[in-house]
């Protein structure tokens, strides 16, 4: 199936010249090639060569993902696969960065203009310090990370994320990069049709990709996106304004927000947790619990925990930890999220894991390059480790705060 998915334009998005667009398109094709052609080769290489050699050397078969890794790293096929993945990642950011660099002052001016015309709030506190685990190294090799600023009112890493993540996801999350948010909202509409949140908080929203569907599908709700990256938050605000959606954005730490107790009916996050730390994660759960009103829901969408998979699958997923500047990627999957939720104050009976099916089908026919057939193919896949959005659904942790605390106690 040819992937011809194209990102939808919006007023804040960097504009690419013909060569820049071709350069970017190549990185998306390269990633697609690695996933469709190189990745499937790893299993036979492991079974026919690596596992046997390991057994000969150690007198026992490989037992866990660490054993598997220790054998695979010496195999030339794996070396090519892992190097290709890393190079694709580097080319991807570079292809976008070159384009942003050419038009940066114009992009900043455009974002300012969009934000100035918006009614929604934009909060950037003076002297805000982002946590170390976000700034210590550039997560997923994105140059500058989420927080670097190279000019006044900078939005550059926000713009870089918007375009770069589209290429990274190869368009699988839709023309507006919003499949995760859209899928969770769909899930809520389906499983809790009477749930009408008055206020919604999206933690670690980056440029608001997942945030906007909440405003679109709960138009009467007051929606807030928070993130520690200043340039991301500025860009998010401008981007939302460009879509004509009134969504508030603030530079804020999800471990310790400035919102009052019991302020929100819905607190969500999308692929935030694996980019935090072992110390931050419990604090984020506790903070979500604090700002939730009775009857409210906390939903975290991320990739599935390791204990749900075989060691070879774990090994493939864990490559991100080793090769893509994702220090917490593997460790997060070993955290007991039920215990964390319970410690934060939720009742174990009110906590569960579920799958929110991808909303990508909705894009079919409506957006450039999204054919019905290709969108269906994405939505109906089986779980395959190492593929983007494996299994056609998002893993969600859902916790509900009891309506009446006194009753629950």
């Amino acid at each position: 199936m040819l992937n011809t998915f194209q990102q939808a334009d919006h007023p804040a998005l960097p504009k690419a010249s013909a060569d820049e667009a071709a350069r970017q398109e190549f990185t998306k094709s390269f990633k697609g090639f690695i996933q469709s052609t190189l990745l499937p080769g790893l299993t036979p290489v492991y079974q026919t060569r690596v596992a046997k050699r390991f057994e000969k050397e150690h007198g026992r078969p490989p037992a866990d993902r660490r054993d598997i890794r220790s054998g695979m790293v010496n195999d030339i096929y794996f070396q090519h696969y892992a190097a290709a993945n890393r190079i694709a990642q580097e080319l991807l950011w570079e292809s976008v960065n070159g384009s942003i660099d050419r038009q940066l002052p114009e992009l900043i001016a455009k974002a300012r203009e969009l934000s100035a015309a918006a009614k929604a709030e934009l909060v950037i506190p003076e002297g805000f310090v982002p946590p170390r685990y976000v700034t210590a190294l550039d997560i997923h090799c994105m140059p500058g990370g989420y927080c670097s600023e190279v000019a006044a009112d900078d939005i550059s890493v926000g713009a870089l994320y918007d375009r770069g993540v589209y290429l990274y996801a190869m368009g699988y999350t839709g023309p507006n990069n919003d499949d995760m948010g859209r899928s969770v909202v769909n899930y809520l509409k389906h499983h809790a049709p009477d749930f009408k949140p008055r206020r919604i908080l999206d933690m670690g929203c980056t440029v608001g990709h997942s945030t906007l569907p909440y405003k679109e599908l709960f138009p009467d709700a007051e929606v807030w996106g928070i993130d520690v990256g200043g340039p991301c938050i500025r860009y998010a605000h401008a981007r939302a304004a460009g879509f004509g959606l009134e969504v508030n954005f603030a530079q804020m730490n999800a471990e310790e927000t400035t919102f009052p107790d019991e302020h929100f009916d819905l607190v969500v996050s999308h692929i935030l947790l694996h980019e935090t730390s072992g110390k931050a994660m419990p604090r984020i759960f506790a903070e979500a619990h604090r700002v939730l009103a009775p009857g409210g829901m906390m939903i975290h969408a991320d990739l599935p925990p390791f204990d749900l998979m075989d060691p070879f699958t774990q090994f493939i997923l864990d490559n991100e930890t080793w090769y893509n500047n994702e220090p917490f990627w593997g460790a997060m999957r070993d955290m007991d999220q039920f215990a964390l939720a319970q410690k934060a104050g939720f009742d174990l009976a009110d906590v569960k894991f579920d799958t929110a099916p991808m909303a990508v089908m909705e894009f079919a026919a409506a957006a450039e390059g999204y054919s019905q057939e290709a969108s269906e193919a994405v939505a109906e896949r089986d779980f395959t480790a190492g593929e983007f959005a494996p299994g056609g659904g998002w893993e969600v942790l859902i916790a509900r705060k009891p309506l009446d605390k006194a009753l629950a106690a």
């Binding site: 071709a22 350069r23 070396q79 660099d101």
Partner: protein, 98 residues
Amino acid sequence: MSGIDMTEAERPHVIRHARGKRPQFYDTPGMDQAMSMIMVLANEMAVLRDRLDSAERVAKASGLDLAAGIEALELDQAALEEREERRQDFMRRLSTCN
């Protein structure tokens, strides 16, 4: 100050390198760098090919079937020599710059 009023020197620049140690994948020293260079070249080749495709499509839309003309083109002696000279020169440069 907006972009239009800025001189080249005043324009801000994005960060081009990611912080964090780059892993090594291959046993042979230099192989990782070589692979990166090869993929940058492959990327640029794809850009050129797309550009040529665009040229053909734009020409066709304005009534000139470049693609068909290219297929039908017969090379005369001068063109054959010019191309062979260019290829040999390319290989000379390629094999000494290492």
